[in-house]
Symmetry: C2
Subunit: 431 residues, 2 copies
């Protein structure tokens, strides 16, 4: 091993950044052996360089000048673990223009404006890797991009947010309400003080935009993703799911349209059968289920967040781009040749669980069934629960478009036999 | 897209080969878009070129001259789906010497003599990829080799043989004996007419040798792998596992030694807790569970065998080596810098479930406990089952070396209070 060392600049030193710095230091010998030359830390850019930090890095390595560090002549690879769109985008584009390869964990930026980053990498002839941006330590993007490059992906179904999975797992285990389960998650540190990004599905939406782009060789941004969070999921929904052998999960879904070119990309709570491999993904674990024409059903499971798992993914990418540098090559870049349009949510086809509070008298079912039939939504099963003022009807449909279902629900609300539409939830995943 | 097409020679056209030929033909446009130039079939070598085959390939493409095809001037990439050590090794080494990159699904050859293939690839400056050799369509080797390149793998626990997993699943579900479950597997086509390679663990041993080599950056061959099959697993073992909240699986295990440099590589039936993610891998599915320092627990799940899943893995590798050809580069080759020794089975540390038929009288447990203590094997739990002539003691140990456990069992057999050592089975996997 006698090549010139490669020098790595790190932008950011929060929870993930500290874990990256520690893992980089503790695995220096292994990294050198795997790459073929030593990897050296060139510096770490942070807002407050003089603050004491629990990382084995000399104080002199810290700088407040991120842009200067990212474009410095002696830097080969830039690792970005700051997050957010700006100034991260400016720093990374500048770094690539200056000939640096980039490894980033920044899902917001990639999902909002990945095209700008990919274009900068292509123009500069450098690498851009971002395994850590989706599902933390679970190897996912590389398998999708490379291992399945000879196959055709039909559907990606993921549990990619640990906070919401923890909350829904607790609701399922204990019968707790959403509010109670959120309070518990907050107390245990599984939920942020402001849980909006997780609970309302923004985090999952960014991740599924990135997954969809890679799986379908298309450009998908977070703005293209239909999004519903879990704050309206009730204990009654969870109990109703259980009654039909299902559990409720916040699913990130990207699937090829069955009726022409296009892809549906969405995040929403859904009931899935308990026999589905995703149903047993508990608490803060993540998993992504992939259906491909030839490979069939695959699942990738592990810790989707946390400093160390994310650092593992970051350093895996650092080794890849460093090996590429040593070999004088660049990895395969963006693949967007399919360029599929993201179809509106109304055209998405799935199944639905509809729970209605009804008046308990003869002829109610006929009136309700007529409303479904009017919009060509076929009913797979009906179950009556309770009597008198507690009478409820629970219907599960066959596949229908979201638009047809919405129109049906609008009609149901106008029926005098329907006291209230208690809940509407999608049903996903074959058993 | 105006580069010269790349030409692919295929060796073999059995179940996997036919699936590769069909997928190659049906996805030609996608493959071209992903690689950047068209991929063309140069020919298929088979023993009987004139036999009718259900593949969309012109009869003139078939040849009996595998060596000639593999080294032909117009061939860029050689795909080998013949299996077995010779003549496959001669063909592939000759192909690499002639400058062809190689994609192979041949686990026997890689596990028996991977070093020869890797050396040939290195010397010729060509690619050697073999994702399909382990766990069929599940992306596994690329994630281990690349995604986890910044991490340190501690343990790989796999269910990598669908036939034995089907048999053990049936024994667990129905209480069937091994013989009954094997008969059912044979009738359904899940077991070969001669099931030795699967049932006795040879297939799993080859796969875990390949996994261990990659996970631990070392050279491991199938001859290094300790191997026990499942034919001695009884319905009583399965029932006993169930009584302690476990299920029996044939596990392929590679793990770092805790007491110095080395790795334990083995295949044997083991009890694992039902709460372990591997416990719910049913029937012919495969899954590999990986524990890494930073990433934590990961699992890769899918169809481990079958023509189409394996073809998916083969073509994923074909796209990778074709992209490398187009870019004028070679992927990262073998990484064996750790060069860990494979430790003898006697030094392997694990836990044990020991079932003893005993005489039903006072002082039996004291005599038995003394035998364990004599070899420093600590007992975690004891359970008595039955009385009189049916009296049995079921013991589970804390961690101990295989050598200490074997010596203990030898001593137990000499005790007059022990009528028979009914079974000894390892216990793996934290709950």
């Amino acid at each position: 091993m006698n090549g010139r060392p490669l020098r790595v600049a790190q932008l950011g030193c929060g929870v993930v950044g500290s874990a990256v710095a520690r893992l980089f230091a503790s695995s220096a010998d292994d990294l050198a052996a795997r790459v073929g030359v030593p990897l050296e830390l060139a510096g770490i850019a942070v807002r407050r360089p003089n603050r004491a930090r629990d990382v084995p890095v000399d104080r002199a390595m810290f700088t407040a000048d991120a842009l200067g560090l990212a474009t410095r002549d002696d830097v080969d690879v830039v690792v970005e673990v700051v997050g957010g769109i700006e100034p991260a985008r400016t720093w990374l584009v500048s770094a690539m223009k200056a000939g640096k390869s980039v490894v980033t964990a920044n899902k917001e930026l990639l999902a909002a404006d990945g095209a700008t980053l990919h274009a900068a990498a292509r123009e500069a002839g450098v690498d851009l890797y971002f395994e850590a941006s989706v599902a933390g330590g679970i190897p996912l993007l590389r398998p999708l991009r490379e291992s399945l490059a000879g196959d055709r992906v039909q559907r990606v179904l993921g549990i990619v947010n640990g906070t919401t999975n923890y909350i829904l797992s607790r609701m399922d285990d204990t019968g707790a309400s959403f509010t109670e389960a959120l309070e518990e998650a907050t107390a245990l540190g599984y939920a942020e003080p402001d849980p909006t990004a997780d609970v309302d599905g923004f985090d999952a939406a960014a991740k599924v935009a990135i997954l969809a782009g890679i799986a379908f060789h298309s450009r998908v941004t977070s703005a293209d993703v239909y999004r519903e969070g879990i704050s309206d999921v009730t204990a009654a929904d969870v109990a109703s799911a259980r009654a039909m052998g299902c559990t409720v999960k916040l699913l990130a879904i990207a699937e090829r349209s069955s009726d022409g070119p296009g892809v549906s990309v969405r995040v929403h709570p859904a009931m899935i059968p308990r026999s589905h491999p995703l149903a047993s993904v508990r608490e803060a674990f993540n998993a992504v289920f992939v259906e491909a024409d030839a490979a069939g059903q695959l699942m990738f499971y592990g810790r989707g967040a946390g400093g160390r798992p994310t650092a593992s993914a970051v350093l895996g990418d650092v080794v890849t781009v460093a090996r590429n540098r040593v070999a004088g090559r660049v990895g395969s870049g963006e693949s967007v040749y399919e360029d599929l349009p993201v179809r509106p949510m109304g055209e998405t086809v799935t199944r639905y669980h509809v729970s209605l509070d009804v008046t308990d008298r003869t002829g109610v079912l006929a009136r309700i069934a007529e409303a479904f039939a009017h919009h060509d939504v076929s009913i797979a099963s009906v179950r009556q629960e309770g009597h008198g003022d507690d009478a409820a009807l629970v219907l599960v449909t066959h596949e229908a478009t979201d638009a047809a279902l919405s129109a049906t629900v609008d009609d149901l609300r106008t029926l005098d036999v329907v006291r209230a539409v208690a809940s509407v939830m999608r049903v996903e995943g074959e058993a």
